[in-house]
């Protein structure tokens, strides 16, 4: 007989605090609920407009895929570039400039003036004085004068053209460097694009998420109030974060803008500096958003 009987027990624990605490807590909860009701529909992120970086980089309606690929550009300007043709083109351009022959002719015309008005008359005069006008030496002498003229012409022309050899070589090397810079610049732009795309996309979607989650975020403050009497809990950390001062924000964005402008300027002179500056500013702002 006997023996223990298995029985169920219902125990209820009610956690209570001193009346003065509960009174204040009740007031806090009600106040928080009232504030929550008033701000839950005030979406602060609702008017955020997505930053359209594609438009800034490529123009309205274009994407990066609408432009030549980096490898295409590399093939055109580097690996597939005909270096020998470039030399021939530069050599011809530099040494057969119309201006070179014109300059030579202009110099020889000046020489001719001297020849006609001074050298030949003086030669004829002296030959006449010697009574040698009708002799073969006079003819040879005149031919020698013309021959010298030809030498002078040839020397002037050659000197002018030889000076252009250095120019041809310089132009050749500069063009090769230019081709190289074109590819470097294209790569840099692509690099900037992807950095910007990553940061700005993240910013755009973060704001979109914050907008959708706004009611949840507001309610989360209310949630933390319920358990106010438990130690260690409080409002969400977002309100405890350290924030930059306005001066610091301005300086930080300026730093990125200046760096972007100078890097861009190195790649693409003043247009590059403008693009670099804009991109630097965008990156700077994006960085601030994620702090």
């Amino acid at each position: 007989m006997g023996g223990g009987n298995s029985t169920s027990a219902w125990r209820s624990h009610e956690q209570r605090f001193a009346p003065y605490i509960e009174n204040r807590h009740a007031d806090l909860i009600n106040t928080t609920a009232a504030y929550r009701a008033s701000i839950i529909a005030e979406y602060p992120y609702a008017d955020y407009v997505d930053q359209n970086f594609n438009e800034v980089f490529f123009g309205v309606g274009y994407a990066i895929a609408d432009f030549p690929s980096l490898y295409d550009m590399y093939g055109k300007f580097m690996a597939g570039f005909d270096v020998e043709s470039l030399w021939n083109k530069n050599f011809s351009t530099a040494t057969t400039l119309e201006e070179l022959d014109e300059k030579t002719r202009k110099v020889i015309v000046d020489k001719d003036e001297n020849l006609i008005h001074e050298t030949l008359p003086e030669f004829k005069l002296k030959m006449r004085e010697l009574g040698a006008v009708n002799c073969s030496s006079f003819i040879i002498g005149k031919a020698q004068i013309e021959s010298n003229r030809t030498k002078i012409l040839s020397t002037i022309s050659a000197d002018t053209k030889f000076k252009m050899l250095k120019e041809a070589e310089n132009k050749f090397v500069k063009e090769l460097n230019w081709n190289q810079d074109v590819i470097k610049g294209y790569s840099e732009m692509m690099k900037f694009y992807y950095m910007t795309a990553a940061t700005v996309t993240d910013a755009n979607y973060t704001f979109a998420a914050k907008n959708v989650l706004w009611p949840m975020e507001v309610l989360d403050f209310e949630r933390s109030v319920f358990n106010a009497m438990k130690p260690g809990l409080g409002f969400p950390k977002t309100y405890l974060q350290r924030e930059r001062s306005t001066v610091s924000k301005v300086l930080s964005v300026s730093s990125d803008t200046v760096t972007g402008a100078f890097v861009g300027g190195t790649v693409g002179n003043w247009p590059g500096a403008i693009v670099g500056g804009v991109i630097g500013a965008v990156v700077g702002i994006a960085k601030l958003m994620f702090e």
Partner: protein, 312 residues
């Protein structure tokens, strides 16, 4: 008969003050209502992946569609016959058609001057002397022609002599160019993998955030349910990888900070003398200016950055 009895099964109910339970109940209804509105409204649902491959290789191509780095290295460097290149450069520089054309043009210029100026002037004088039929006139004309031939030959010889160091310089330029072709190919590849890695991270993070969106929303409700027990949810970000800060300090950022390998090719005048041109990294005068600007820019940017940090 006897036998030991088992422990009684107990239920424990934790209750809170009535005013708390009333407000909590109302609060949970509000959270539920907000959850219904948000859970099917993922902002990441319309995300379109950022494209990388098309930008680097063109539509329909991948990195495998192009020569491998080792192929390029073999073609432009290791497998290059530099002796054959020197011979080719020498011939193309000294005996190219453009050089011969220039010599011919020089001859034509002299011919033109002789025919339009020298010979008529000589002839006119001789006609006046009635000496056109004399042998002296013929000798005189041949003197001029002889000079013409000598000058063209001299021009040709001088030109070719002056082009010898140019051929040497071009050979070195060509070698340097080949080196740059391979260096930049490697850099383009490095950039591709940097961009691909970072952008993949962004794309996949967005996809993860989209799939995890219901849990992001429900996490708020979970915290709301446990509010009285101390459950916390102080984070306000979205479930899934956070990308932006990582990208900013990631491979692309690192790549952006470093300039591409390989400096500008130098002209022979940049390096002092034609025969002793030494090629390598570094910058020619123009690029030195450019790099100085970049250095100044980086310096100004760094100073501003330090100031920003100091006033943080």
């Amino acid at each position: 008969m006897g036998g030991g009895g088992s422990e009684p099964y107990t239920w424990s109910e934790i209750r809170y003050a009535g005013y708390i339970e009333a407000r909590h109940s109302d609060f949970l209804r509000s959270v539920y209502s907000a959850r219904i509105g948000a859970i099917s409204n993922s902002p990441f649902a319309n995300y379109t992946d950022i494209e990388v491959d098309n930008a680097f290789f063109g539509a329909g191509y991948t990195i495998s569609s192009f020569p491998s780095l080792y192929d390029m290295y073999g073609k432009f460097m290791a497998g290059l016959d530099i002796e054959a290149l020197w011979t080719q450069e020498y011939n193309d520089t000294i005996d190219s058609s453009v050089v011969n054309d220039l010599i011919a043009a020089e001859g034509a210029l002299i011919d033109d001057e002789i025919e339009t100026t020298s010979i008529p002037r000589l002839q006119t004088g001789m006609r006046d002397l009635n000496s056109v039929m004399s042998s002296s006139f013929v000798v005189g004309k041949s003197l001029i022609e002889d000079t013409r031939t000598k000058m063209v030959a001299k021009f040709s010889a001088d030109l070719k002599y002056r082009l010898i160091p140019v051929a040497q310089s071009r050979w070195q330029t060509h070698l340097d160019w080949n080196k740059q072709v391979v260096s930049i190919y490697a850099e383009a590849m490095k950039l591709y993998f940097s961009a691909k890695t970072d952008i993949d991270e962004v794309n996949y993070a967005m996809a993860a955030k989209n799939i995890l969106w219901p849990f992001t929303v429900l996490d708020f409700e979970r915290a709301a349910l446990g509010a009285l027990q101390g459950a916390t949810n102080s984070k306000t970000d979205v479930a899934g990888a956070s990308t932006a800060s990582r990208v900013l300090s990631g491979a692309l950022s690192g790549a952006a900070m470093g300039a591409m390998v390989g400096g500008a090719i130098k002209t022979s005048s940049d390096v002092g003398s034609l025969g002793s041109a030494v090629y390598g990294t570094g910058a020619n005068a123009a690029n030195v200016v450019g790099y100085s600007y970049a250095g100044v820019g980086a310096g100004v940017g760094a100073l501003l950055g330090i100031a920003a940090a100091a006033t943080y």
